[in-house]
C-alpha cells in the first residue's frame, strides 16, 4: 500500500526512437494505475530538442515533479539539467528510471522486461511524490587561506593563491623561508642552485600585499570547518598563543631527512666523517667542503643509496629523490675538486626521464657506480674504513674514504599526526598526509577545505612541488570561489531537535563535514537528559553520500534528495507484486562504480534474469540495515548491495565499508531469527569488468528462487499486515 499523496508527478516514457522492445501500452496503463502519476506521456526521443521541450512543458504544467523513464540518467541528466538551467527552470525534482540499460537491453522476454520496467517506474513515482525542490544558495566566507610551511611548495601555494585573489597567511616553523631547497647546490634539471630557483619567488613574496609571512611560528591546532577555520599558533621562541580566522588550509610542511643513527653499521653520529646526503648539500652550498673531523680536503667519497629506504625496518618504499640528489652532489663535488674519486653504492639507480642523461654524464665524468651494499664501517688510525660487497663482481672490497655520505630516507615533516587530530585529514601508512584519491585527487585530503602539497604528501622533485602548489590553489579556488560561494544545497540536512548527540555522523563522515557543537543554552527537562553536544551540518559543504543518514539512530540527518521515507516508498512501490510466486531480487547500487558497471552490462547487452529490481543510492554507504529489512518486509526474496571495490569508494572513501558493515549486521539478524542470512550479500563492482555484475545478480536470483520471500508476509507484499488481526 502506498501512502496517499496529493503530490502526483508527471511521467515521461521514452522509446529511444522506437528501438526499445517494451510494451508501452502496458507501461502506460500500469503507471496510470499507480495513482501516482498526474499524466503519462510517451516520447520517442526525450534527449533531443523536441523531447527536451516536452520536459520543460511538463515541468511547467505539473509543478516540477517529473519521472523520466529512459536510458541511463548518467547520460541524459547532464543534458536535461543544462537545458533547463539555461531556461531558468528547476530540474531538482526530476527522477530517473533506467528502462534501457537496466531492462530492455538485458532481458530478451518483452513481457518480463515490461513488467520489471513498470515496477521500477512505480517505485520511482512513489519516491518522487515525497521529493522537495532544492535551492541554489549563496554563502560568503573570508577570501583568506592559510599555508603551513614556507618551503618551495608553501611559497608557490601562497603566490598562486594571492594571484587568484586570496589573502594568505604563510606560517613557517623556522626563522627562514625556503625549506630544504634553499640549501641545494644544484637542482636538476635547472643546472642552478636552490637559492637561484627560489630568488624570484622570494622577491614576489616580499612585494605582495596579499601575503603575510610569519616565521618562527608553530600551528598548534585548528578548529572549525571550510569557510570558518580558526588557526591557533605559538611563536617557537615562546610566548602567547594567538589565533586568527581563515577559510581553508594548505599543508606544505615538507619533508625531513631520516637520521640513521639506529643503523649502527654506518657509524652515523659516531664518526664525524659519516654524513647524510643533505648534510653534504649544505657543505657544498655553503662552500664548506672539507673533512668534518679535521678540516682536511676531500679526495675520496663513498655514497650509499637506500639508507633506511626500501627497508622493512624503516621505510618500506623508495624515497625517489635520493639517486638524483646523490648524482647532483657528486657532480658538484667534482666541480670543486676535479680529481675527487666518488663512488656510489646502489641497489637500483632510479633516475626518471632526463635525469638519466645527467646520470650518464656523471658516469662519463668518472663517478663510479657499484651495485651492492655496505657491510661495515669502522675507524682505524684516524681514517674511516668501509667494507662493501659488489654484486656484479661477487667480491668484497675495503677502502678508506674521506667522507661517507648516506643517502638517507625522506620522511614526512614532524607534526603531521598531531595536526591531523584537530584538522581531521587522514594520514598514510608511511606518515605522509593521505591524499583523497591517489589517481585523480592527489592534492585534496579527507577533510574538505584542507589540501596538501609538496613533500608532505610524498617525496617530490622541485618542479613537481611547484605544479602541486599551483594545482592545489585551483582546487581551493573551486571550493571558495573568492569567498562568494554559489551552489546547490544538495546533501544532508540535520534537524537539530532530533539529534541525540551520539557523534556517529561526525566520526564517520568521509569528508569530516558534521561538527559537534557544545549546547550552551540547551533546554532540557532535567540535567541528566541534557544533551551536551549536538551535531551541525553545513549542507553546502556536504558531499551527499548519505553515510550519516544510514548511521543516524534518530533519523536526524537525511539527504534532502533521498529521505528515509522516499527510499522506503520506492522499495515498497518497486516490489508491488513480489511474493512466493514471483521471487524478486532487489539490488541497491551506488551511483559510482556500480551504476557504471550496470550501464556497461546494458550497453554490451549482457543478459540476466528480469526478476530483479534496481534501486539507485548515491553511495552504498547510504543503505542502512533498515532499508535492507524494508525490502524483505515488502516481499523481496534476496537483497544485494552493489558497491565500489574495496578501498576504492568513489564518493568519499569509506562508504562501501560502512555498507559492508550494514550488510554483515543484516545477515546476522536474519540468521538469528532463522531467515537465512545468505539472502543479503554485498558485491564489489568494477566497470572494466562488467561480468562481475552479471555473476553477482545470477547468484542472488538463484538464491531468491531457492529461498522465496521471508516468512513474514503471507501472499504478496503487505498482505501479512492486513492478515494479522
Amino acid at each position: 500500500m502506498i501512502a496517499v499523496t496529493t503530490d502526483k508527478s508527471a511521467a515521461l516514457l521514452c522509446t529511444c526512437g522506437k528501438t526499445l522492445r517494451l510494451d508501452y501500452e502496458l507501461l502506460k496503463r500500469e503507471t496510470q494505475e499507480t495513482n501516482l502519476a498526474a499524466v503519462v506521456a510517451i516520447h520517442d526521443l526525450v534527449c533531443q530538442e523536441d523531447g527536451l521541450a516536452q520536459i520543460e512543458s511538463l515541468i511547467d504544467d505539473y509543478g516540477g515533479r517529473l519521472v523520466i523513464a529512459a536510458c541511463t540518467s548518467q547520460k541524459i541528466r547532464p543534458r536535461i539539467d543544462q537545458y533547463l538551467r539555461a531556461r531558468g527552470k528547476d530540474s531538482s525534482q526530476i527522477q530517473y528510471v533506467n528502462i534501457r540499460e537496466q531492462s530492455a537491453w538485458v532481458h530478451s522476454d518483452q513481457d518480463e522486461a515490461s513488467k520489471k520496467s513498470a515496477a521500477m517506474i512505480h517505485g520511482v513515482l512513489a519516491c518522487s511524490a515525497l521529493s522537495v525542490p532544492l535551492t541554489f544558495e549563496h554563502k560568503e566566507v573570508p577570501a583568506h587561506v592559510t599555508v603551513i610551511g614556507g618551503g618551495i611548495s608553501g611559497i608557490e601555494s601562497a603566490l598562486s593563491l594571492s594571484r587568484l585573489g586570496y589573502n594568505v597567511s604563510l606560517i613557517e616553523l623556522s626563522e627562514q623561508l625556503g625549506g630544504h631547497v634553499i640549501s641545494l647546490p644544484l637542482v636538476t634539471p635547472t643546472g642552478r642552485s636552490g637559492r637561484e630557483v627560489l630568488s624570484g619567488r622570494l622577491q614576489e613574496l616580499e612585494t605582495s600585499e596579499r601575503i603575510s609571512v610569519m616565521t618562527g611560528a608553530r600551528v598548534k591546532f585548528v578548529e572549525g570547518e571550510m569557510g570558518n577555520f580558526t588557526v591557533h599558533y605559538v611563536p617557537t621562541k615562546g610566548g602567547e598563543e594567538k589565533k586568527f580566522k581563515t577559510s581553508a588550509i594548505v599543508l606544505a610542511m615538507g619533508f625531513q631527512e631520516f637520521k640513521p643513527t639506529a643503523l649502527e653499521e654506518y657509524r652515523y653520529g659516531k664518526n664525524p666523517n659519516v654524513v647524510t646526503q643533505f648534510e653534504l648539500s649544505r657543505m657544498l652550498s655553503e662552500e664548506n667542503l672539507s673533512r668534518p673531523s679535521d678540516g682536511q680536503p676531500i679526495r675520496e667519497i663513498i655514497m650509499v643509496q637506500c639508507v633506511g629506504s626500501r627497508s622493512e625496518d624503516y621505510k618500506r618504499d623508495c624515497s625517489k629523490l635520493c639517486c638524483t640528489f646523490a648524482i647532483d652532489n657528486a657532480l658538484e663535488t667534482m666541480k670543486r675538486v676535479p680529481d675527487a674519486k666518488v663512488r656510489i653504492i646502489y641497489m637500483d639507480i632510479r633516475v626518471p626521464f632526463e635525469n638519466e642523461i645527467v646520470y650518464k654524464e656523471s658516469r662519463e665524468k668518472g663517478v663510479d657506480y657499484i651495485r651492492g651494499r655496505v657491510s661495515m664501517v669502522w675507524e682505524k688510525e684516524g681514517r674511516t674504513w668501509v667494507r662493501f660487497y659488489d654484486s656484479l663482481l661477487d667480491r668484497y672490497f675495503e677502502t678508506s674514504p674521506d667522507l661517507l655520505v648516506l643517502s638517507s630516507a625522506i620522511l614526512p615533516a614532524e607534526g603531521v599526526t598531531e595536526l591531523s587530530q584537530s584538522l581531521g585529514f587522514a594520514v598514510e601508512y608511511d606518515g605522509h598526509v593521505k591524499e583523497l584519491y591517489g589517481k585523480l585527487r592527489r592534492n585534496e585530503t579527507r577533510r574538505r577545505g584542507v589540501v596538501a602539497v609538496g613533500a608532505i604528501t610524498r617525496p617530490q622533485f622541485v618542479f613537481e612541488a611547484v605544479t602541486d602548489a599551483q594545482a592545489a590553489a585551483l582546487m581551493l579556488h573551486n571550493e571558495l570561489q573568492n569567498g562568494k560561494i554559489e551552489t546547490f544545497a544538495r546533501g544532508a540536512v540535520l534537524k537539530a531537535d532530533d539529534c541525540v548527540g551520539c557523534s556517529l555522523c561526525a566520526q564517520q563522515c568521509p569528508r569530516g563535514v558534521p561538527l559537534m557543537v557544545e549546547q550552551t543554552d540547551a533546554e532540557a527537562k532535567s540535567e541528566a537528559q541534557k544533551i551536551l553536544f549536538k551535531a551541525t551540518i553545513d549542507t553546502l559543504n556536504c558531499h551527499a553520500c548519505g553515510i550519516c543518514q544510514s548511521l543516524c539512530p534518530s533519523a536526524a540527518t537525511q539527504l534532502n534528495f533521498l529521505s528515509n521515507d522516499q527510499l522506503w516508498s520506492e522499495i515498497e512501490g518497486t516490489l508491488d507484486g513480489a511474493g512466493p510466486d514471483y521471487p524478486i531480487t532487489v539490488c541497491f547500487y551506488c551511483e559510482e562504480c556500480a551504476v557504471s558497471t550496470i550501464d556497461i552490462v546494458g550497453t554490451r547487452r549482457m543478459g540476466y534474469p528480469a526478476s530483479t529490481r534496481l534501486i539507485p543510492v548515491p553511495c552504498s554507504g547510504r543503505v542502512s540495515i533498515i532499508d535492507i529489512l524494508k525490502a524483505f518486509e515488502h516481499g523481496a526474496s534476496t537483497v544485494m548491495v552493489a558497491a565500489c571495490e574495496k578501498d576504492r569508494c568513489h564518493i568519499g572513501g569509506t562508504g562501501n565499508e560502512i555498507a559492508q558493515i550494514q550488510v554483515d549486521v543484516a545477515r546476522e539478524i536474519l540468521d538469528a531469527i532463522g531467515w537465512q542470512g545468505e539472502r543479503v550479500e554485498m558485491f564489489r563492482m568494477f566497470s572494466a569488468e562488467p561480468e562481475r555484475f552479471t555473476r553477482a545478480v545470477n547468484e542472488m536470483v538463484k538464491r531468491a528462487q531457492t529461498l522465496g520471500p521471508t516468512p513474514v508476509h503471507l501472499g504478496t507484499a503487505g498482505k501479512w499486515m492486513e492478515a494479522s488481526p
Binding site: 637500483d348 602541486d468 572494466a688
Partner: protein, 416 residues
C-alpha cells in the same frame, strides 16, 4: 569576453583542462584527432597507482563525488566545451593571446549529440561500430572504408537522423587566447630493433598490447592467450628499457614502464592463474610508493633477471626461444616462453616536432620543455602557451591530472 582556450588532445590531461576551465566559466575548444576521447588511457585496463579501471574521471561542482566513470564526464554536454573529435590543428598564426588556429575536420558522418547509441545502425551494417562502451562522446563511429548493403538503410532509419554519409571534410579558423598542448605520448613500436623480432616473430608484443589482452572488455574476454593461435599462455618474459636508456633510440628513462610492467606481472600472477612471469631489467625503477609493485611481484614469485635479451627465435608451435645475458651471474641463459612483452619507450607523438617548431618552443628529447627552466614551472611552455601530461615527458595518470589543474590555475592566475 576573451577568446576561447584551445586544448590540443583529449586524453587524461586535455580532458581535465577542458573540464576545469569549463567549471571556471572559460570557453574551451577541445581538439582530438581520433573519434573518441581518452587517449592512451583508453587502452590501459587498470591504471596505477590505484589499480582501478582507467575509466575514472574527476568529479567536480557539477558532477559531485570524487570521481566519475569516464563516459559520465559529459564533455559533449558542458556549456563551455566545444568538443572537436576527428579534428587536427593544421596551422597556428597570430600572436600570444590572439592566436589564429586553423583546424581540419574529418567528415562528420555521425553527429555525436544526436546519437543515442540505440544500436540500430550497428545491427544493419558493419561499417558502424562502438569504439568502447565507455567511449566519449557516447556515439557510434562510421568507417567510410567499409560501406555495405545496410549502410544507407541505417542512414535512413536512424531515429535521430544522426547519420550523414555525404559529410565532407572541412577547415575552420578560430580565434584563440591560450593554447594548451596535451597531445600525449606514443608507445614506441620497436620494429627496428631486430634482436626482439617485434612485428616479425609472432607473440612478441608491447606492454600496451598486453594491457588490451588482459582487458575483460577485449577480444579474449580478459583471458591470457597467445595472439598467434589463441592458446593459453604459460610463460611470459618481459624486457624493460626497450628503446629507453638507449643512445640509438631514446637516451632518457621512460619512467613509468617498470611500474607498468610489474602491474601487469602482478595481474598475470595473481588474477590470471598459472602463468609464470620473468622480467629482464637493468634497474628496477619502482620509485616512491610504487615500490609496492616490486614487493608484491617478488612475493608472487615473479623472477627478476638483471641483464639484456640478446636473441629471440621462433621455435616449433610458435613458442619463443630467448637468450638472455644475466649480468649478476655473468652467464647466458635460455628461456622458452609463450609471450615476449617489450616495455617499449614512451616517445613524443610523431608530429610533435612540427608543433614545437611552429610555436617556437624548446624541446627536451622531443617533448615540450618549460619556457623558463629556472622557475621550475613545468606547465608553462611560453607566452599564453601551456603543456601538461605526457606531452611534457613521461608521466603517470595522477601527474597528468595535477599538471592539467596547474595549467588551469596558471591561466586563471594570469586573468585574475
Amino acid at each position: 569576453m576573451s577568446d576561447p582556450v584551445l586544448v590540443i588532445g583529449a586524453g587524461v590531461a586535455g580532458m581535465t583542462v577542458a573540464a576545469e576551465l569549463s567549471d571556471a566559466g572559460i570557453k574551451t575548444v577541445l581538439v582530438e584527432r581520433s573519434s573518441t576521447m581518452g587517449g592512451n588511457a583508453l587502452d590501459l585496463y587498470k591504471a596505477f597507482p590505484t589499480d582501478d579501471c582507467f575509466y575514472c574521471f574527476e568529479g567536480n561542482r557539477w558532477r559531485p563525488g570524487i570521481r566519475k566513470c569516464f563516459y559520465r564526464s559529459t564533455m559533449t554536454d558542458q556549456p563551455n566545451i566545444d568538443v572537436r573529435t576527428g579534428c587536427e590543428v593544421v596551422d597556428i598564426s597570430g600572436s600570444p593571446g590572439e592566436f589564429k588556429v586553423k583546424i581540419a575536420a574529418a567528415p562528420r558522418y555521425i553527429e555525436p549529440k544526436k546519437c543515442t547509441m540505440c544500436g540500430l545502425c550497428v545491427g544493419l551494417s558493419k561499417a558502424f561500430y562502438l569504439v568502447s562502451p565507455q567511449c566519449q562522446p557516447q556515439a557510434v563511429v562510421y568507417n567510410p572504408q567499409r560501406p555495405d548493403e545496410g549502410t544507407e538503410k541505417a542512414e535512413r532509419e536512424c531515429p535521430t537522423k544522426a547519420i550523414n554519409l555525404q559529410a565532407q571534410p572541412f577547415e575552420e579558423t578560430l580565434r584563440i587566447s591560450d593554447i594548451v598542448i596535451a597531445t600525449g605520448y606514443h608507445e614506441m613500436k620497436p620494429v627496428d630493433m631486430v634482436e626482439y623480432g617485434y612485428g616479425k616473430v609472432p607473440n612478441v608484443i608491447t606492454q600496451l598490447e598486453l594491457a588490451q589482452i588482459l582487458d575483460p572488455n577485449g577480444k579474449s574476454g580478459g583471458a591470457l592467450i597467445r595472439p598467434s593461435d589463441g592458446s593459453p599462455v604459460k610463460n611470459i618474459l618481459m624486457v624493460q628499457c626497450v628503446g629507453s636508456r638507449d643512445e640509438s633510440y631514446h637516451p632518457y628513462c621512460s619512467k613509468i614502464c617498470c611500474v607498468f610492467a610489474l602491474k601487469h606481472a602482478n595481474i598475470v600472477m595473481q588474477e590470471r592463474g598459472n602463468a609464470r612471469v620473468s622480467v629482464v631489467y637493468m634497474d628496477i625503477r619502482t620509485y616512491d610508493r610504487h615500490e609496492r609493485y616490486y614487493r608484491e611481484a617478488r612475493q608472487a614469485g615473479v623472477e627478476f633477471i638483471r641483464g639484456r635479451v640478446t636473441r629471440v627465435e621462433r621455435a616449433r608451435d610458435d613458442a619463443l626461444q630467448i637468450t638472455v645475458y644475466d649480468s649478476l651471474l655473468d652467464k647466458y641463459l635460455k628461456f622458452s616462453v609463450d609471450l615476449l612483452v617489450l616495455s617499449s619507450a614512451l616517445e613524443p607523438q610523431p608530429d610533435m616536432a612540427g608543433l614545437i617548431e611552429k610555436l617556437g618552443l624548446s624541446s627536451s628529447d622531443g617533448f615540450v620543455k618549460p619556457a623558463d627552466q629556472l622557475s621550475e614551472n613545468e606547465v608553462v611552455a611560453g607566452d599564453h602557451l601551456y603543456v601538461c601530461g605526457t606531452a611534457a615527458g613521461p608521466a603517470e595518470v595522477p601527474e597528468s591530472v595535477t599538471q592539467a589543474r596547474a595549467v588551469v590555475s596558471m591561466i586563471l592566475q594570469g586573468r585574475a
